[in-house]
């Protein structure tokens, strides 16, 4: 994606923004097509997502999920692996978190359950990535296809477990029992309350801080450790990496484990943080949104943070919108999301050449002017 002839600010800021704008422009057309005034809708979405405390809470709560899944995609991608299985890894990771909570809430205090459930989530998520990773590294099957398959396997496995194992007797919906208070993460309004700050209740919870910590950890890992060096070398040039003493197979497995572990953290937000029980489909496509987030964020933690916030706004604002407009539903947001993936991901190269031409023309004109002035 990078173009040597263009300065960094164009590559890193302008081009992604232009891609995003195009996605939004096409989205506006879809809004018009269903009789919704896009300007009105946009302002309603922003208002609903950022205009009041609870809305902000929801926005950040969604963003928390996207940070986890976005990082999962980005870490794998920096090693040249397209982990499209964030959905399944997050699902199984959430199962891990939930199982730990359900197992320990009767006997253990929060300070034991918290780390154990977090590790449980990461471990389960990582394990779900292990088989595709192993197959990619040692048996040459492509990780994209196997992770897709594993998403479906995860979903069937969860249905089985939820319906046949975890559902309490007499419960009709496929949900587990609620986890105990001592297994739940503090909600943001509680946390801020400790510091005397009033904040409206919302699903935003302590996981948000876990997500921020994950961003920092991934940034440190990738750019400030020898392991990150190895990961990026593997992604950029596998031959050179293996010449440099990096074992590509082992590293592939390790990177996928990290990736799966990050996706697995989603359970902290969804299970231990918000719904306090295991439910069917709590991942709700966040794993796929992670792809969009990683693409827009260009695989960099700062970019991922902003992209997650953007999608948080879209999701929360979209809910708000569906509340106001009978014609609009969450699917509308999915359309916007799809267009963002299309323009920022698949069509990311489309604008490079034109922008380059314009930029070179402008600089050339400037140079001419300078010359003319000198003369």
């Amino acid at each position: 994606m990078n173009n040597n002839k263009l300065p960094a600010w164009i590559n890193v800021l302008l081009l992604p923004l232009l891609n995003l704008l195009m996605a939004f422009a096409v989205s506006a057309l879809v809004f018009i097509a269903v009789d919704v005034n896009p300007v009105e809708a946009a302002s309603l979405m922003i208002q609903g997502a950022l205009g009041y405390q609870e809305g902000v809470g929801y926005t950040l709560y969604y963003a928390t999920n996207f940070i986890f899944t976005g990082l999962a995609v980005a870490v794998a991608f920096s090693a040249g692996l397209f982990n499209i299985g964030g959905e399944g890894q997050a699902y199984i990771g959430g199962l891990g978190t939930g199982l730990m909570c359900l197992a320990l809430d009767a006997s253990m205090p929060f300070w034991v359950i918290f780390p154990v459930s977090m590790l449980g989530g990461m471990l389960f998520g990582a394990l779900w990535a292990l088989i595709p990773a192993y197959l990619q590294a040692y048996r040459g099957s492509h990780v994209v296809i196997t992770t897709i398959m594993f998403n479906f396997i995860a979903s069937s496995l969860m249905v089985y477990l939820m319906v046949n194992v975890l559902k309490p007797d007499g419960e009709m919906s496929a949900v587990s029992r609620l986890i105990g208070e001592n297994a739940r993460l503090p909600m943001m309004d509680e946390i801020l309350g400790w510091f005397g700050i009033a904040f409206d209740p919302s699903p935003l919870n302590f996981s948000f801080f876990i997500a921020l910590a994950a961003l920092v950890m991934v940034w440190l890992l990738l750019w400030h450790t020898r392991w990150g060096y190895a990961i990026r070398a593997l992604g950029a040039n596998p031959t050179a990496a293996s010449y440099g003493g990096i074992n590509p197979k082992r590293l592939t497995v390790i990177v996928m484990l990290i990736s799966g572990g990050l996706a697995g953290l989603l359970g902290m937000n969804e299970v231990a943080g918000y719904s306090h029980q295991l439910r069917l489909d709590f991942v709700a496509g966040y794993g796929f949104t992670g792809i969009a987030v990683a693409l827009i964020g260009r695989g960099h933690p700062i970019g991922i943070l902003f992209a997650s916030l953007l999608f948080g706004v879209l999701f929360q604002g979209g809910n708000e919108l569906s509340f106001e407009y009978p014609n609009v539903d969450r699917e509308m947001v999915e359309v916007v999301q799809a267009l963002v993936v299309l323009f920022s991901g698949a069509l990311s190269l489309m604008l490079v050449k034109p922008v380059e031409k314009i930029y070179l023309a402008i600089t050339a004109a400037k140079a001419d002017k300078l010359k003319a002035q000198e003369a």
Binding site: V34, V144, I153, D329, E331, M332, E334, Q337
Partner: protein
């Protein structure tokens, strides 16, 4: 028992049909070097377009045309991103899947105000079952009669079309100029380019064929198999078809067998829901549902045979090397 098996196989044919059309769609695009994880989205969009058009025009044929046109349009978007602009084929495929899931419901809700469904279709708005000649006469002939009149007869036109597409696809790939070039461009696009053939146009044509086939699959789903569109009615069929494509190692006849196997498993799973079997007891339906995915993973891992795709699949074509 014989009766039960016939009926199970009968259902297998119906359930395999969309898989087969889709897998053949995938076959054309992947043999040309374009990974098609967008089958799911193309199917869904086409199913919606077909049902909506059939309802609006009271003609299932116009519905199918609309389905095909939609499949092609999706393919063109796919091609625009991944052929013309050399975007990542997986990313563009994912985008198309998301787009189809969102757009079908959004438009459906707006047009029909039925929560994303289309109204139920009937009469001319649907493909009707066809009774093959002599089917009624032969009905009572033992074995053959049942096979012919119960299993082979009594499906909609599209079922026969789907199975007819198998030898046709084989013939196109192996016996025609277009097929030769298509296979070549998926293996080594440079060889095609230096032979003076446009890689871009060839891949676009492959994608267009894929769009048409996915369009027919969609039309079958909503106007043949079911009687109308319901949200997310593709329900992962695109990915099962992809699995069947890998399972059949990108060759038409084995791909068909893969589709039949996976269709059979689906038909079986439907019937085993909550049923106690002798000896094994109640088999969790989920265990059968995941079999296509598990089998495909095992195959990919080389535990049962080896699946190696077209060499150039997934890579955007860049001239220099």
């Amino acid at each position: 028992m014989f009766e039960t098996i016939i009926l199970l196989l009968d259902a297998t044919l119906r359930v395999s049909t969309p898989l087969l059309l889709l897998a053949l769609a995938g076959l054309f695009s992947e043999r040309s070097g374009v990974v098609n994880i967008a089958l799911e989205g193309k199917l869904l969009a086409a199913a919606f377009a077909a049902a909506a058009t059939a309802f609006a025009t009271d003609s299932v044929w116009l519905g199918m045309l609309a389905g095909m046109a939609t499949g092609v349009m999706m393919s063109l978007i796919h091609g625009f991103a991944s052929i013309t602009h050399r975007g990542d084929q997986i990313v563009s495929g994912t985008a198309i899947n998301m787009l189809a899931a969102g757009l079908t419901i959004t438009l459906g809700r707006y047009w029909f105000e039925m929560g994303g469904q289309t109204p139920a279709l009937s009469g001319n708005q649907r493909f009707q079952a066809i009774t093959l000649p002599l089917a009624e006469m032969l009905e009572n002939v033992p074995v053959i009669g049942a096979l012919y009149s119960k299993l082979l007869s009594g499906h909609t036109l599209l079922v026969y079309l789907a199975f007819a597409m198998v030898p046709l696809s084989w013939w196109i790939l192996q016996r025609t100029r277009f097929g030769l070039r298509l296979r070549a461009v998926g293996e080594n696009p440079h060889s095609v380019d230096t032979a003076g053939i446009s890689v871009t146009w060839l891949r676009y044509r492959a994608l267009i064929i894929a769009g048409i086939l996915a369009g027919i699959a969609g039309a079958y789903l909503s106007t043949g198999h079911a009687a109308g569109f319901v949200p997310n009615m593709s329900a992962g069929k695109g990915f099962i078809a992809l699995a069947a494509l890998i399972f059949g190692k990108w060759r038409p006849v084995p791909v068909m067998l893969g589709c039949l196997l996976f269709g059979f498993l689906d038909a079986l799973a439907v019937r085993l829901q909550g049923v106690e079997l002798p000896v094994v007891g109640e088999v969790p339906v989920q265990a059968i549902e995941v079999l296509p995915y598990v089998l495909t993973v095992l195959l990919l891992a080389g535990f049962i045979g080896k699946a190696v795709g077209p060499k150039a699949v997934g890579q955007p074509y860049v001239k220099s090397r």
